[in-house]
Structures are given as C-alpha cells and as structure tokens.
Symmetry: C2
Subunit: 346 residues, 2 copies
C-alpha cells in the first residue's frame, strides 16, 4: 500500500540460494536435489545433470548448520580449547590436532583463553552451544568442573598436557617427570654438586611434574634439592638467575630450567654476566640457535606436534566407539645435547 518507504539500505549481505530454489530451478523435488548434493545412488543421469546445472547457475552451497540440525550423524565439528595459540608449543599442538582432523574432513572451532578461568568457561560453553561432536582441551585450568561434567555426560573429550585426577578421559601428556629426572640426573652424573632448579608455579600440572622429577633425581644421588619456584616469566627467570650468579653465597654450578620461557631468561642473564662455561642449562622445547650459544645446553625435547596428532587420533577413535576405555598417552620427551656436553663444573 504505502510506497513512500525508503528502500532498505541495500541488503548487501548475499542471501545464498536455498535447496528449494535449486529444486524449483531444476524442476524437481527438494529430495532429488538433496540426493544429488549428497551423492546418493538411484538418481537418473538426466535428473542429476539438470540439478547440477541449477546448482552451478545459482551458486548453491548447502547450509551446514541446517544439515547439522536435521542429519544424523551430523557433519562433524570439534571444539578446541587452548591457552594461547601464539605460544610456540601450543601452536604446534594445534597443528597436530588440525592436521589429523582436517584430513578426516572435520572442522575445528578453537579459542585461546590465556589461562583465564572465566574465558575458559565461556569458550567451553560456546563450543557446547555449537554442539561440537568432540572436545580437545589443551592445558585447561579454570574449568575443571565443567570439563568433568561434560566427560560424565559422555561428551568425547581429550585432555592435552595436563592430567585431571580421577577423571576417566583420554589424556595426552609428555613424560614431564621422567624426562626432568633424567635431565637433572645427567647434570649430577657429570659431577655438578650444586644444581639449582628454576621452576614455575607448581599449581600448573606440568610444572609440578617437572619439579617432582628434579626432586627424584636429587633423592637418587642423596643431594639436598635447591629450588626457586614461581618463575613464570622471562623477566623473573633472568632476575632470579642474576641473583644466583651475583651472590657468592649461592654459586650454582649448573641450572635446571624447567620451562622454555625460564630458559630464555636464564640464558639472557648468563650472557649478561659473561658466564659462559660454568653453568649448564636444561630447558623444554627447542632453543633457537642453541648451537650458537654458550653455555652448553641440554634440552628435553617435547613433541608438541605429535601430542596434538595423538590427541586427535584418540578423539576420532572415541567418536567411533564411545565405549572405548579411556587411555593415558605419555609421549616420550628425549634428552638432547645441543653442545658437546664436555663442560665440567668449574
């Protein structure tokens, strides 16, 4: 009736062609279009051709959201919760997961939480609202209860880089404790008597495990442990190392650095002080240009990419067989020597 209305401000957003439009265009029923789209059998070549033509002309793309609603089983979607996609370690875990899932045609919906409990819970709930078919949780911290609840509900879920006690779900971790013990033991075996451990916040599962490994090594050689905890940034690590080096009361002959960021800080401090030959370092993950650095460095080399792949494989298995027994995968992190290793305590 009223024609005075201003035209809507250009719809702009292209409304994609729908299946019924394709059906009309091709002069067939929706079901026939559906059959062609999904490559079902029992479709006459003639009809198929007409439908395909209509699809091409209209630029039709099926709507996965609708498909997911109606179809069973739905096109699979996986939720991924991680601390920080830019952290080199987790970035590789992510790629491991992604590579396995992508090959199977699964789509990932991911998010970083920076370890903030609120964001972690928020993300988890969002993923649930998307009705993801499975969840991969890398180093979650503030949403234990939610995770436990989901697992108890039967949601396929794999934990990475962290063990949730008393929770029967697939879990993939590194050999944190054993590798740490081996690394520290290596230092002791080389004659060092004063091996200080720079550790992170023990409330973080991996940090606690690595610290435990250090203690085990000390116990093996009957040496009193010497630990600096709460070292969770590069800056703190550098500061702590400076104190250790500057105060004659300390004088460590070797340092066990329990995390790559700690290692970065410790290396910086060592270099500042020109202490290049009286300390050996241990770290996790790779040390860039380690070969070019003094002092000698031995690295517990984790395999984040492999961990991610393994996690994805576990998840796929569970999607196929929800009753499969939960499995704990401990991925071996071997000790690698990035220098000759001939340094002796000074």
């Amino acid at each position: 009736m009223i024609a005075m209305e201003t035209a809507p401000p250009t719809p702009q957003r292209p409304r994609r062609a729908t299946m019924s439009e394709v059906a009309a265009r091709a002069g067939v029923s929706m079901k026939s279009v559906s059959r062609v789209v999904n490559g079902e059998a029992h479709v006459s070549p003639d009809l198929a051709t007409r439908v395909e033509a209509a699809i091409a002309e209209l630029g039709y793309r099926p709507d996965r959201r609708a498909r997911g609603l109606a179809a069973t089983p739905s096109p699979r979607t996986i939720g991924y919760v991680q601390v920080d996609a830019a952290n080199p370690f987790f970035a590789r875990v992510y790629r491991g997961v992604e590579d396995v899932l992508q090959r199977r045609g699964l789509v990932m919906i991911a998010g970083s939480t920076d370890g903030e409990a609120a964001r972690e819970r928020q993300l988890l709930e969002t993923l649930i609202e998307f009705r993801v078919d499975g969840l991969v949780v890398a180093a979650a911290a503030g949403s234990d209860d939610l995770v436990r609840h989901e697992v108890s509900q039967g949601t396929p879920l794999v934990c990475i880089d962290r063990v949730l006690e008393d929770l029967p779900c697939d879990t993939v971790v590194s050999s944190n404790r054993d590798s740490s013990r081996a690394a520290v033991r290596h230092l002791f075996d080389r004659g060092h008597a004063h091996v200080v451990c720079l550790a992170g916040d023990p409330s973080v599962w991996t940090a606690a495990e690595r610290l435990a490994g250090y203690h085990e090594a000390c116990a093996e050689v009957a040496v009193d442990p010497w630990v600096v905890t709460g070292v969770d940034t590069v800056e703190k690590a550098a500061a702590a190392t400076r104190v250790l080096l500057d105060d004659p009361a300390f004088a460590p002959t070797a340092i066990f650095s329990a995390q790559d960021r700690i290692t970065a800080g410790a290396l910086t401090a060592l270099h500042e002080r020109g202490r290049q030959h009286d300390v050996a370092l241990f770290g996790f993950d790779e040390i860039p240009f380690a070969e070019q650095l003094d002092p000698s460095v031995s690295v517990v080399a984790q395999d984040p990419y492999g961990m991610g792949r393994r996690a994805a494989e576990r998840l796929l298995r569970r999607l196929d067989d929800a009753s499969a027994p939960p499995q704990l995968d401990v991925i071996d992190a071997p000790l690698r020597h990035r220098r000759s290793g001939d340094l002796r305590p000074s």
Copy 2:
C-alpha cells in the same frame, strides 16, 4: 511387537535438553523460554524464575546452529584462512584477530592450508557452508578467484599480508617495500658496497615487495643489485650463504635477508664459518637471542599482532556497515638495531 532386538549399543552421546522440554518443565510456552534465554523484556519475574529453574535442572543450553537458522541477525561467526597456525608470524596475527573478535563475542572457525591451493579452496568452501558472517584471509594464494567471487557477492572479507590487485576489499599489510628499502639503504649508508639479497619466491606477494624495496635502495645509490632468489627454507638459506662465504669470487660485505626463515639459515651458516664481524644481517620478525648473536643484526620489526587486530577491526566495521569504502592499511614495520651497529665492512 518384536522384542528380540538387541538394545542399541548405548546411545552414549548425551541428548541435550531442548527448549520445548524446558518449556514443558516450566509449564510455559517455548516463546517464553526464548524470551528468558535472550534476556528480552516483558517477562514477569515469576515466569522468569520458573524458566530459569527449569533451565538449570535440565542443564539446558541453546543450540547455536538452530539459532543461526532462525534468528536474524544470526549469532556472528567468522571464518579464518591462514597458511600455517604454527608459523610464529601467523600465530600472532591469529591472536590479534582472535582477541578482537572474542571480546565482541564472535566465534572463529579457522584452518591452516600450508599454502596448498586445493586445501585453501576446500577450507573456504567449508567456511561458506557454515555461513560465516565474515572472512579473514591471511596470506591466501591458491584461491584468488574464489575470494574475488565472495567479495563481489558482498561477503565481508579482509585480506592480511597480501594485496589482491584490483580487488576492492579491506586489506592489511606491512610496509614491506619501504621497510626493505630503508634497511638496505642503511647498509649502503654504512659503507657496504656488496650487499647481497637473499630473497624468497617472488610469486609470493610479500617476497616480491621486499625484493622491490631492495632494488629501490640499489637504484638510489646506483649500485648493481645482487640477488639470490628462491630461498624459501632454512636449509636453502644456509646453503646459499655458505656458497657466498666460501667462494672468494663472491665476498659480500653485508647480507639482506628478506625473511625470518632465511635469516635463521644465514645466521647458522655465518656461525659455522666463524664469520662474525664482516657481515650484517637483516631479517623480518624477531630474532631470538639476537643480542647474544654475532654478527650485528638489524631487524625490520613487523607487528603481526597489530596486523591481526587491525584486520579484525576492519571486519567488524564492515559487518556494521557493508557499504564502507574498502581500506588499505599499511602497518609500519620500523627498523631496529639489535647490536651496536658499529660494525664496518672488513
């Protein structure tokens, strides 16, 4: 009739409560539940309370897929296409995008393509099938036509780290050419006469830009350019550098490395040969432990995180106003000296 059937192999997958179940539980209509869930006005406190109780008891979570189908505007979803989530540069771009979108409550569906055209196209089509409300494409290569088509259709889309010629869409890039020119110019200004450029595959947009910057600098000082192209891996960079160092016929006094991976390889080769004071290096992105390394290093410091943020902001703007004019953002990449810079050509 027939009761001999074996029980289905345990449904396992938890069937979430639906809105109508909540409605029944609370003794209200679906619409009322919907109102409460979406925090709409005009709901009596009494009814709201009953509904909330029912929601809690049943552990109800709305289904975003269904919501997306029925609602307008739909809960927003963004598709993200990148080359490699584990590449430190792109990982930071990703975080930049994610941080901005997450704060606005938007969800990202992302995927890595490793630069493979087929996977890139596949991913793009999948994202379209999910009816994402916008697209962020970081360094796409093999799907130009698809991207162009989407843009022409009016799909909000932002390109990162690459310019698609003649395509009017928001684009965010670094000052590749100008920064390269400045970096090379810096070397010339310091007295170097033989500055070799280790460049990647010029078919990659950024590589071509940086190479162009090198050429501009050469032209400015009237020096013949000296370029090694196709250096696209750490290994190739190391090999190329070894050749340059070992063959007396070459003898560069400075190297311009146009990419961080190239830099890694070049640094390795330099260290191997013990050439610590006769070469200066340029690279992109940060160089770990650069201060501790010989030789002197000057870095064109890109800001991938900032690029990601900017891209996300552009996308948000376009979602609000589809008619906004396409914008090209060139993020400045300043030249930083990681050593004293006092090295002179030997």
